[in-house]
């Protein structure tokens, strides 16, 4: 329990003490005074007691809760598949601080931690169970506030290039204008679009995403604009399109660079006139959805090649945000690894403590052609293979460990890390034409640190410095 109860009243407020004065049962007095919610159930899962804090956290009065099935009162994310109390009654073992969320009568998700215990009568027979739960909303808010500097939505970064993106996001979110997101595949364009939506006045309206590259032209048209019954064979009923579904909210058009010329014309009309016609309809419908478009192509050069309409490009290129690839912001990798480890711990109910230093060195040395998505997949894969403790090199895909053969030979961590660091430095120098400043920037370290490491690792400085050869 969070605070000690002293019946002389020094640790409870006057109101609670007054309430306690009328209580004859000291156990009841204790339950009424604590800030954790507590309820008990009988063997038919019906609630037999429900304390004051439980009333406050759930928003349900005890007169309504008593006698009802606990899952219909508590309605937590673990009731149906992973009930902690059910497990405790089955095994006889208590569960401590299991995280989940409940949904209150207003539809709010409240993060909580749950602990359970078995209730026995004087003959030591099990007569039910007790569940204690703590509202984590404030802790969650504080955590978000602390992380907020480096995080917007699910985007995590402390690199300079991403801080510039973070600075634009609030302004982009406040306006209703079209936004164009450019970046390599896996850089988090959809996450950024969601972050803009979640910070915008439209946050309570739908966010609808459509991958334009995933549909053939005719299907994409019906997907975007919808159709009326009878518009074509098999269209037995009206189907609203994504523009209609996103009404009042945000429509995210991913891979807009893949859209055909014919459909570009139709898109341009919707963006200019804010009206569209579902297939088979003779009437126009209004669209007030805010458009966020994204592409991994360079639309400027696509316009020059004649593959993308210039007028449509200017219509969507009102606010442009370029997302840098992960290899250009490797200093974010440790922060992102922490973020993904925390997230998968939460989702998979595991207690992985992080990654081993040699794993971090391998991750830093990788080129990440698949960007953030690839990193997320690597951590998710490691979670499947790693049951507890820290993620080790053998939990990583083969292509990571293949680069550092010494890791399998019982080398100590220090020398393994040196090997990987040397490899990463050589690769970075090669990629940057031996420009040491650019290589240091890419590796997320200061140039003097790079020089020091090169010297310590015995890397011979290249004869020509990329910087001097360029100038």
């Amino acid at each position: 329990m969070k605070r000690t109860l002293r019946v002389d009243g020094t640790s409870m407020n006057r109101k609670n003490k007054k309430r306690l004065d009328h209580l004859e049962n000291p156990t009841e007095a204790i339950l009424e005074s604590i800030s954790d919610g507590v309820f008990t159930v009988d063997l038919d899962w019906r609630i037999t007691s429900f304390n004051r804090a439980a009333e406050e956290i759930t928003g349900i009065g005890r007169e309504e809760a008593l006698g009802r099935t606990c899952s219909e009162v508590f309605r937590s994310s673990m009731c149906e598949v992973d009930c902690a109390l059910r497990q405790t009654l089955k095994t006889g073992k208590s569960i401590i601080n299991k995280s989940c969320f409940i949904v209150d009568a207003e539809g709010r998700r409240i993060p909580i931690s749950v602990s359970t215990a078995v209730l026995r009568d004087s003959n030591n027979r099990i007569v039910g169970g007790a569940e204690t739960f703590r509202d984590l909303s404030e802790i969650e808010e504080l955590r978000k506030e602390l992380e907020g500097r480096f995080q917007i939505g699910d985007l995590v970064s402390r690199s300079q290039s991403m801080q510039k993106v973070f600075e634009i996001i609030p302004a982009a979110a406040a306006s209703a204008t079209t936004v164009l997101l450019q970046g390599e595949t896996g850089t988090g364009k959809e996450l950024l679009a969601r972050a803009i939506h979640d910070l915008s006045p439209r946050k309570n309206q739908p966010f609808i995403a459509v991958n334009c590259g995933a549909f053939p032209d005719t299907l994409l048209e019906s997907e975007l604009f919808g159709y009326k019954a009878g518009a074509f064979t098999g269209a037995s009923r009206d189907k609203p399109g994504r523009f209609a579904l996103a009404r009042g909210g945000t429509l995210f058009l991913d891979e807009i660079g893949e859209v055909s010329s014919a459909l570009q014309v139709r898109l341009l009309r919707v963006l200019q006139e804010r009206v569209f016609e579902p297939l088979g309809s003779v009437r126009s419908e209004k669209s007030d959805a805010r458009i966020i478009a994204a592409t991994n192509r360079n639309l400027v050069s696509e316009v020059k090649k004649g593959n993308f309409r210039e007028d449509l490009f200017y219509r969507i290129n009102v606010i442009r945000i370029d997302l840098p690839p992960l290899k250009r912001r490797k200093e974010d990798i440790p922060l992102m690894v922490d973020h993904f480890v925390a997230r998968f711990n939460r989702i998979q109910q595991k207690r992985i403590s992080g990654v081993a230093p040699e794993v971090m060195a391998l991750l830093m040395a990788h080129d990440w052609p698949g960007n953030v998505r690839e990193l997320e997949n690597v951590i998710e894969r490691a979670f499947v293979l790693c049951s507890e403790g820290r993620i080790k090199p053998n939990h990583l895909p083969e292509e990571f460990t293949a680069r550092a053969p010494a890791l399998d030979c019982g080398e100590n961590i220090k020398s393994a890390r040196h090997l990987v660091e040397a490899q990463a430095i050589r690769d970075a120098l090669k990629r940057n034409g031996n420009n040491r400043l650019a290589a240091a920037r890419e590796l997320g370290i200061h140039k003097s640190t790079l020089f020091r490491k090169m010297k310590a690792l015995g890397i011979i400085p290249p004869d020509t410095d990329g910087r001097s050869s360029r100038t």
């Binding site: 349900i60 309605r75 539809g107 739908p206 909210g249």
Partner: protein, 132 residues
């Protein structure tokens, strides 16, 4: 018209956000003509909403549902009747009779919210004699 209910142990599942089984009731002229049950999409709420739409669901009767998830489902033109509890067969019968507002079918703590639903646009439909 197809009415969907997430179910668990024959009752309406306590929380739609994480439910795993879906019961579909096909209604014609105010009567249930067929009932089927299936696994429900796990993961993203948008996947759940998409599955409901693809199944042709017009009304979703469910237990607790978080606000963002509810707005994703209603964005697919599916009417949501939230915070309902009870045995699945009795709930569908009550919906057809127009008696789903009975306190015995309302989740604890949700009377205020259900009242707002009655007076708002999410009015509980009267199944029989209503649209089919």
């Amino acid at each position: 018209m197809i009415v969907a209910m997430p179910v668990w142990n024959e009752r309406i599942a306590p929380l739609f956000d994480v439910c795993q089984k879906l019961r579909l009731a096909e209604i014609e002229k105010g009567f249930v003509v067929s009932v089927s049950e299936m696994d429900f999409c796990q993961g993203e709420p948008s996947g759940k909403a998409l599955q409901l739409e693809e199944l042709g669901v017009a009304v979703l009767i469910c237990g607790a549902i978080s606000r963002p998830v509810q707005s994703i489902v209603t964005a697919r033109n599916i009417q949501v009747i939230p915070f309902i509890s009870g045995v699945g067969t009795e709930v569908i019968e009550a919906w057809l009779n127009g008696s789903l507002d009975d306190p015995s079918f309302v989740m604890p703590g949700c009377c205020g919210r259900r009242k707002r639903c009655r007076s708002g646009k999410e009015t509980v439909p009267r199944g029989r004699g209503g649209k089919s």
